[in-house]
Symmetry: C2
């Protein structure tokens, strides 16, 4: 793996390398985002772009039917910098997240018994679930989640556009991490581990260099 860095880094500009390292330094897996049965690839792409912007690494896609294509133009490639986890069912997705210590909040944008986004304790590892554009989060998902959340709407409109809801959630989660991190006894828990940073860095190097596989592999061991 050392070799990936040694071979690819010299092919990139200093500015590019600095950029990747500065993104890695703030990248977080403390909050994960789940997208369940989302239909419109534009919505998903816009959502992923917000995750990148507020620097959350993990998107979990629940899609029983198979792949949901991503729209290159909309994300400007944001999904290339994220880790996309695909799960065939809500159950499979959430059991993995819960094992990894995430408390799961399903969006319940229609109101009802749901905690405001702004009252979620982001001091804990948190997964935020968004559902299908038309149907919302499934009954199965609601039953499996630890709790429900909503974004408080103070006007006449009854719901937010999905990409807006994701962006606001990611923005808020990032603000909460910035607020909580400095006073935390173990601030590194908000960050990626060093091992994960290293592995992502190699992956990003590969994404940044044309024919990276050939360059890394061509001289054999």
């Amino acid at each position: 793996m050392e070799r990936v860095v040694a071979r690819l880094e010299p092919l990139l500009t200093e500015a590019r390398i600095r950029r990747m390292r500065s993104v890695l330094a703030v990248r977080s897996d403390h909050v994960a985002f789940v997208f369940e049965r989302m239909i419109d690839p534009h919505n998903l792409s816009a959502a992923l772009r917000s995750l990148d912007a507020f620097s959350f690494q993990d998107a979990h896609l629940v899609r029983p039917g198979g792949r949901l294509g991503l729209t290159r133009g909309i994300t400007i490639g944001a999904e290339r910098w994220l880790t996309l986890h695909e799960a065939p069912s809500s159950q499979a997705c959430l059991s993995g997240l819960k094992e990894a210590g995430y408390r799961v909040y399903a969006s319940h944008l229609g109101g009802g018994e749901a905690r405001p986004l702004t009252e979620i304790d982001f001091g804990r590892r948190t997964a935020i679930v968004f559902g299908n554009e038309h149907l919302g989060v499934s009954e199965e998902m609601l039953a499996l989640a630890d709790a429900r959340f909503r974004i408080d709407m103070l006007g006449f409109a009854q719901s937010l556009n999905l990409s807006v809801a994701v962006a606001v959630s990611a923005f808020h989660a990032r603000r909460e991490i910035e607020r909580l991190r400095p006073a935390d006894p173990a601030p590194a828990r908000f960050d990626l581990t060093e091992a994960r940073r290293q592995s992502l860095y190699e992956q990003w190097l590969r994404h940044s260099v044309k024919h990276a596989d050939r360059i890394v592999g061509e001289e054999g061991d």
Copy 2:
């Protein structure tokens, strides 16, 4: 004006009236939003929907060329509940806002000399300016504004979708008002005046009742 309320209120359900009053109670003109030369009516409609959701009343539209149509389907009519101010030039728009005591921040999403959104002092009356989707805020507007702001982006993407940027800004401004208001010596300054509430209430009643003008006017004085 008493008559408007007396005639129209009985035609609406209790729930509807409660809704309008509860929206009025949180509605604010402490933060205003300016949209300069925006091209896509979908973007503007989505932006207005976020203003409604986080309950800001005033949208200022700078459009030298004339009217920019609003897309009913996208806002679900959010613009009906807002006050849209149209100005033929950036100068005309900002001089009005400055006279009314607003400190004007122009978005400078490309970075540079700009204050992060999260460091704006929303204790003061604040106007937030968004520009054209492709060109951003004009040079003229940047020169006239009091300061520039940006939304900090921590990933690889260089810019946020406009509707996302507006939503995040409105969400954050609302949070700041909620944070500042309770400790403020004059909390009412964040709210609409009683006179403005009354006038909006009448306007909303008219929007909610079919043939409102005929009903209000038909018995003469």
